[in-house]
């Protein structure tokens, strides 16, 4: 199962230092975005997807599990947050909390089911579960079916920050993203992350050392789902709507694509991949019909020639861990 990320290097102190430097550069670049003339909503959307891709990557890159249903967390949290804000009038922070908690609960249930199989079966099961959820959301009244939940009030975060102001919203989303990113980074480099890596590397050996590997995989699944849900909750404030597209399986496919393009099992790959794919969707939208074809071509090219992804190739070239 470890072949997907076989050439990862062991995390040395140097690697940690490299990663911290890149993180600071990344954060600095993101902080100055509102002054660069780059359209902030584009960056906000990309940030949400970047967080989603990072959460996905936690599972595949460090747990060896390829989920083909991560859209279900994004969408579920989105719907819950949207509903909480619009119908119950909850404050933004409570809305985010509610959505994220919902995704966590979903992670517990779906994880319990899907963790029973591995490899391709795991992928197919997560895909099927997300499709099941898609149909549920299509029929449940509170999601308003195809129309989605629209016109969601952005409100004041902690009663202070007006999220209707793009710059304020941008920094809130940015802080959310960086926070989520650090949580993932910490998870990877935690005692738990060590065990996870060990399981990915050699599961029978980990079992023989007394680890109940299913429990670790389940926790990784739940964490990944929760963070994906957090991304979904943030996204509600950016898009101001929650719709079926966020739970559709094509969205799950896009997340896989983002991570693959950036580099499976790399720390920064998913972020880069998300920006590349979102930029492509926005700025190549003129190719119109060809967007899906281009995505397909990227998939095929990545798998055949470019398996390490952008960041993975760079890291490999410099023999660094990124």
């Amino acid at each position: 199962m470890s072949a997907l990320t076989d050439d990862t290097l062991p995390a040395s102190p140097r690697a940690v230092r490299d990663e911290m430097i890149v993180f600071v550069i990344m954060a600095a670049l993101l902080v100055i975005v509102p002054w660069t003339g780059i359209y902030p909503f584009f960056v906000m959307q990309a940030l949400c997807f970047a967080l989603l891709a990072c959460a996905f990557n936690l599972l595949i890159g460090y747990g060896g599990l390829l989920s083909f249903g991560h859209a279900m967390f994004l969408g579920t949290a989105g719907y819950l947050t949207a509903h909480a804000l619009k119908v119950w009038g909850l404050s933004p922070e409570l809305g985010i909390l509610f959505g994220t908690a919902g995704a966590a609960a979903l992670g517990v249930i779906t994880g319990y089911v899907s963790i029973r199989r591995q490899g391709i079966y795991f992928s197919m099961i997560t895909l099927a579960l997300s499709q099941l959820l898609f149909f549920v959301y299509l029929q449940t009244p509170f999601t308003h079916g195809e129309d989605g939940i629209q016109g969601i009030p952005q409100g004041y975060l902690f009663g202070i920050f007006n999220l209707a102001k793009p710059t304020t919203l941008y920094y809130v989303v940015l802080i959310g993203f960086l926070g989520g990113f650090l949580v993932i980074y910490r998870t990877i480099n935690s005692p738990f992350g060590e065990v996870l890596k060990a399981i990915r590397e050699n599961e029978p050996r980990a079992i023989s050392l007394g680890y109940k590997t299913d429990q670790y995989k389940l926790l990784a699944f739940i964490l990944s789902g929760t963070l994906a849900g957090f991304a979904g909750s943030l996204k509600v404030f950016v898009a101001q709507n929650a719709s079926l597209t966020d739970v559709h399986w094509t969205m799950s496919g896009e997340v896989v694509l983002m991570t693959l393009v950036g580099g499976l099992g790399t720390v920064f790959g998913p972020v880069v991949g998300a920006f590349v794919i979102i930029a492509m969707q926005q700025y190549l939208a003129g190719f119109g019909q060809w967007v899906t074809v281009i995505q397909g071509v990227i998939f095929v090219t990545c798998v055949l020639t470019f398996r390490r992804g952008l960041i993975g190739e760079i890291a490999h070239f410099f023999r660094r861990s990124l």
């Binding site: 390829l66 029973r116 199989r117 992928s123 197919m124 019909q289 899906t292 095929v300 798998v303």
Partner: protein
Amino acid sequence: MQALYAQLLVGLINGSFYALLSLGLAVIFGMLNIINFAHGALYMMGAFCAYFLLNLTGLGYWPALIIAPIVVGIFGMILERTMLQWLAGLDHLYGLLLTFGIALIVQGVFQNYFGSSGLPYAIPDELKGGMNLGFMFLPIYRGWVVVFSLVVCLATWYLIEKTRLGAYLRAATENPTLVRAFGINVPRMITLTYGLGVGLAALAGVLSAPINQVRPLMGADLIIVVFAVVVIGGMGSIMGSIITGFALGVIEGLTKYFYPEASNTVVFVLMVLVLLVKPTGLTGRAA
């Protein structure tokens, strides 16, 4: 009660498609260890192939039943030769990702050229009309689909379980290296097997063309249901995937009768239940 019989029979029709598709997936999985995500797209190509044969060459339904699977099968073999074979020795998940990409490309290209609402394809004259079975009105074409796909499934089963070629195939599934060391060109067999599995999908496509609009996305959602069927049945045995396919079609049909709201989700719910009770699937070998 009459309606119930009718639903049972109707369920068998969907079951036919599930069976043909999951059978193809199982055959491919056995030899290539790849879950062919492009299966839905190739199913769609089969239907389009029938449409082109009719509109470009004037060849009707019956020739299409033979030609379309061959054409799409050859396309599949080209895919295998040019792309899939390079994945040998890599993690199985790469196969899933690659075929997912292929599915996106194929569906996207067809959508560009043929729009999304689809193209018409008529039921062949010989199979028009219906029969009153006393308890239901059975369109002859549907009866034909059930019978024909059952025959194809059983023929495939016979080919794999009872013939010499099938013996090569089963042996190569177990231990390709050794089979090759006996002098059998296993890579070529793998290519042919992929062609066969893909051909089965295309055949299902031709069968469905007169019932469903010939649309670029006709296979996209169907394939996910078939995945669930595969998870439920496991991919251990050929017969297992045939039986599970038909059985789930029937169960879905019954759900449409008793609780139509759930008919979309019943297969997935069943999948969850089966996983909780028997994680390897009903007939599956351990992964």
